[in-house]
């Protein structure tokens, strides 16, 4: 088990290296293929009328004048050893782990990520609890009474939930519950500062995000439960004289839940890398918003930082899911 986790961790580090290399390559090489030069990239970080010397100066300052592999090396080196950046009168040290220094904002990426992470985390965790509970509950009830009014109603709602874009549900939620009936607040407050307000402001976002996911989970749970409840071991459980609730929860749900936990882990991992649309709609300054900024600004360090963080969460989620799966299903052995 421990050696398994150790090997997986090594593989994960290698994977993250590959991810950063690929991101680097996409950012630097693809524009070259369509004819964009480092000059033009640098030009985006200058106001107007840049002279040749200006471009050269900015290029040098951003490190864009070096070969791509040197830039990549500096980036990797920065993560383990830190880096120094010229900010004018002095240089500023970017502490370990230095995930680069934003071209645009002129701040180190890592502290930005860590300061934004609690927001994305709050959003993802709250929504996850909501969608897991509601999705699984609806799925189970639907599965126990297939084709009933409940089943048809909620599966219809689930289909709508999956189909409706966040632009719609999110904005509608804001319109109704923040403006029309101002039940919920709007300005994000950290959990540690005021838990009540934290939950209050995040609630519409949680609900909108949860609607999207709980729809998927309800369908997933429903089909899983339908399948499981036809298993032989359910018949065995009943033949032992167990109450129907025990049969459904202890024997049925227990088995149906395992694949759902797997999907859940992956979804949560992906979400921690930034709920881009939700964060934009609800003006939550999380990782996703940071990613959008990076992309609109062509700001490589931001993009790299978010990509790596997202990749990290996905890799970790993968590992956790595998370990959890082994814990949940005794037939699975890690090796």
């Amino acid at each position: 088990m421990i050696s398994y986790i150790f090997r997986r961790t090594l593989a994960a580090i290698f994977l993250l290296l590959v991810v950063s290399a690929v991101t680097f390559a996409i950012f630097f090489l693809l524009p070259r293929l369509v004819g964009q030069t480092a000059d033009q990239l640098a030009q985006q970080y200058i106001g107007k009328s840049p002279s040749k010397a200006d471009i050269l100066a900015v290029k040098h300052n951003l490190g864009l004048d070096q070969p791509v592999y040197v830039q990549f090396w500096h980036f990797i080196k920065g993560i383990v050893a830190g880096a120094d950046y010229n900010i004018g009168p002095t240089t500023v040290h970017c502490d370990v782990p230095c995930f680069g220094y934003s071209f645009k904002d002129h701040v180190a990426v890592w502290p930005q990520l860590t300061s934004r992470l609690p927001i994305t985390l709050s959003l993802a965790a709250g929504a996850a609890v909501l969608w897991l509970v509601s999705g699984v509950a609806i799925g189970v009830i639907s599965a126990l009474k297939p084709r009933s009014l409940f089943d048809r109603t909620f599966m219809g709602v689930a289909l709508a939930g999956v189909s409706l874009p966040m632009f719609f549900t999110g904005n509608l939620a804001i319109l109704l519950f923040v403006f029309n009936w101002p039940i919920f607040g709007r300005d994000y407050v950290p959990l540690t500062q005021n838990p009540e307000q934290w939950a209050n402001t995040l609630f519409p976002a949680w609900c909108s995000l949860a609607l999207l996911y709980s729809a998927i989970y309800a369908r997933l749970t429903r089909s899983g439960m339908l399948e499981t409840m036809n298993e032989d071991f359910i018949r065995t459980a009943r033949s032992k004289g167990l109450g129907e609730r025990t049969v459904v929860v202890k024997h049925g749900l227990r088995a149906a839940l395992t694949p759902i936990i797997t999907v859940f882990g992956m979804d949560l991992g992906l979400l921690l890398g930034g709920a881009v649309i939700t964060e934009s709609v609800f003006s939550l300054p999380g990782i996703g918003q940071y990613a959008v900024q990076g992309i609109t600004d062509n700001d490589l360090p931001k993009i790299l930082g978010v990509t790596l963080l997202a990749a990290f969460f996905v890799v970790v989620a993968n590992l956790v899911v595998d370990v959890l799966y082994a814990a949940a299903d005794p037939r699975v052995r890690l090796s």
Binding site: Q36, Q40, Q43, Q44, Y45, I46, G47, K48, S49, P50, S51, A53, D54, A57, V58, H60, N61, N86, I87, G88, P89, T90, V92, D105, H106, V107, Q112, P165, F167, F168, N171, L172, I174, L175, F179, N180, R186, S280, V281, F282, S283, P285, Q289, Y290, Q293, N298
Partner: protein, 588 residues
């Protein structure tokens, strides 16, 4: 002058394009607080005619909201009009604009300086005297050296602070030799700016420049204490010279300003220091901004006007409409005719285009009269030098096929095949170009639409003369606003023959007329506003006679006026935005 301006004073116009269709769906839904505030508003466009809710009431919290992030709060590293406007709260430039409605807001008044600049040497040397008793937020005295330093850091350290314009680098004598204060650590600094004493600053220019007062109205002349300058990081700890100082600054999220106790109203006839607190929220959902503004509790910092969905909602409601200001944004929407692409080297062919275009349909495509009045001159009405005229008037602005064909015949053509370029991520521009293509077709001019991303429109496509010539792009969609509200500020980058660059060109017509070039050079050396404005009108007329561009609309924005705020006046100096200097909070 070097002519590679990619985009003059970026007005965050791109934000307009970023609205999802969801907002349209939401438009019809909300009827929440319709009649609540009826009768309170001063009427539609009131803030374009005078100061609305004029008041000296102190206290309250004022909120600005922005869907984006600004380039920087650092007065030496910004180029957005709204930051020019807002930064005056913590950074006092030598000169500024008097808060006033419309083009009255273009009036220059001394701010940090005690009076307007005193020109000598025929306008090549400008001397400013600072007011006495000026202090930073930490109580230390503001000296003329700090002004000099501010100009040096903002214009000459382009590798570090690269986001603002660099007019000083271009205009100052020896500007091309000085390496900026971060590299050149000598005490002397830029030799062409002298500080004979702590309250005097003298600028020596390369050439006579009569509009220098406009240049020093940029936040780049707001004093920065060298000891406190941390280059790029200065934005995190800005030392205020204005009526407010930073209580907190949260990168990319928000800034909170509070009263600056060391700001002395006796040194400042302009600022009133009304609210207790000013909050600038960044990255706010555009719909949310509109909602807050309509509720009366926020100002749309970018001043680009309400979203399309909100616009529909506001205009169909009389009460709400009374709370809006539809104002010129100091911009011209036009189509340049590329004089280097055949057959548009022939003036008759250009005139054929002028007559052919149905400007009414273009206006509709741009979003109707709310988004702009039909234009017939290069200078918009809110820029000094504007004289009403319409050389190519057609009935109802619908175009005149007969006259166009007549011109085409004079040009020796019956049909023309050409291309028209527009920015792919700006839907109104594409729609306008499509309307133009349709009206040109009626006279036998076949134009095909070529779309390019706005981020590279000037650096890679429309602003690269070789590219346009090679691709047979004869017609180029364009929008233009000036860095400072004068005819020169507006015209010189788009009509000056010597401003044509190989990339980042903004003289898209590649118009190189000896008379116009001379007039531009003469104007800037001419003392007296009236005399200069006369020249600008002549340039405008000449360019129209030569038919080098087709004015389409004078860009307008629809601002919602937050009714709980006081001293709201839409000023032409900042693209029609409300003047941010003295907005206060009314008692509720």
């Amino acid at each position: 002058m070097e002519g590679k301006a990619p985009i003059m004073r970026r007005s965050a116009l791109a934000a307009i394009a970023a609205i999802g269709s969801a907002s349209l769906l939401l438009a019809g839904c909300s009827k929440a607080d319709d009649s609540k505030n009826e009768g309170k508003s001063a009427g539609a466009n009131a803030a374009t005619k005078g100061v609305v809710n004029a008041s000296d009431k102190k206290g309250g919290t004022l909120t600005y909201e922005l869907s984006d992030v600004p380039d920087s709060f650092d007065p030496g590293n910004t180029y957005y009009a709204y930051m020019y406007n807002l930064s005056r709260l913590w950074a006092r430039p030598l000169m500024t604009f008097e808060p006033g409605p419309g083009s009255k807001g273009n009036t220059l008044v001394p701010d940090l300086a005690a009076s307007k600049g005193v020109p000598s040497d025929g306008g090549k040397t400008w001397t400013y005297k600072l007011r006495s008793g000026l202090k930073y937020e930490d109580g230390t005295a503001i000296t003329s050296k700090d002004v000099k330093y501010a100009v040096e850091r903002s214009n000459f350290a382009r590798d570090v602070l690269s986001l603002g314009p660099n007019y000083f680098q271009i205009f100052m004598a020896d500007g091309d030799k000085y390496k900026g204060p971060y590299k050149d650590k000598s005490a002397k600094g830029l030799s062409s700016i002298e500080t004979p004493d702590d309250t005097t600053v003298v600028f020596h220019l390369k050439q006579a420049f009569q509009e220098f007062d406009y240049l020093v109205a940029a936040p780049q002349t707001a004093p920065v204490p060298q000891a406190k300058d941390t280059g790029v990081d200065y934005v995190k700890h800005i030392v205020s010279s204005g009526s407010y100082k930073f209580q907190s600054y949260d990168e990319g999220k928000q800034a909170v300003l509070v009263r600056n106790p060391d700001w002395d109203p006796k040194t400042d006839p302009l600022r009133k220091q009304l609210p207790d607190k000013i909050v600038v929220k960044l990255k706010v959902n555009p719909e949310t901004i509109d909602k807050d503004v309509l509720a009366g509790d926020a100002i749309d910092l970018a001043g680009t006007g309400v979203q399309a969905s909100t616009q529909a909602q506001v205009l169909t409601d009389t009460a709400k409409k009374a709370g809006t200001d539809n104002t010129f944004g100091g911009r011209l929407v036009y189509m340049a005719i590329n004089t280097k692409v055949k057959p548009f080297d022939n003036v008759a062919c250009r005139k054929a285009v002028q007559f052919a275009i149905d400007k009414a349909s273009v206006q509709t495509a741009e979003g109707g009269p709310i988004r702009g009045d039909i234009a017939s001159t290069v200078l918009p009405p809110d820029i000094p030098g504007y004289v009403k005229s319409d050389v190519y008037a057609t009935d109802g602005n619908k175009g005149d096929v007969a006259k166009a064909k007549e011109q085409l015949k004079a040009c020796g053509k019956t049909a023309i095949n050409t291309n028209i370029s527009a920015r792919s991520d700006r839907q109104p521009e594409i729609d306008a170009a499509t309307a133009i293509i349709n009206s040109l077709k009626k006279v036998g001019i076949n134009a095909s639409l070529k779309q390019y991303p706005s981020g590279k429109y000037f650096t890679d496509y429309a602003g690269v003369p070789k590219f346009t010539e090679k691709q047979n792009i004869g017609l180029i969609m364009m929008q233009w606003g000036a860095d400072w509200p004068s005819g020169y500020g507006f015209l010189q980058q788009i009509l000056n023959g010597s401003a044509i660059g190989q990339s980042g060109n903004t003289n898209l017509s590649q118009y190189d007329d000896k008379n116009v070039n001379e007039m531009l050079n003469k104007s800037i050396a001419t003392p007296g506003d009236a005399a200069r404005n006369g020249i600008y009108a002549q340039i405008d007329k000449k360019a129209m006679d030569d038919a080098v561009l087709v004015p389409l609309t004078y860009f307008k924005v629809l601002l919602a006026r937050p009714q709980n705020y006081t001293n709201l006046v839409s000023t032409a100096a900042f693209s029609g935005q409300y003047d941010y200097l003295n907005i206060g909070v009314a008692s509720k």
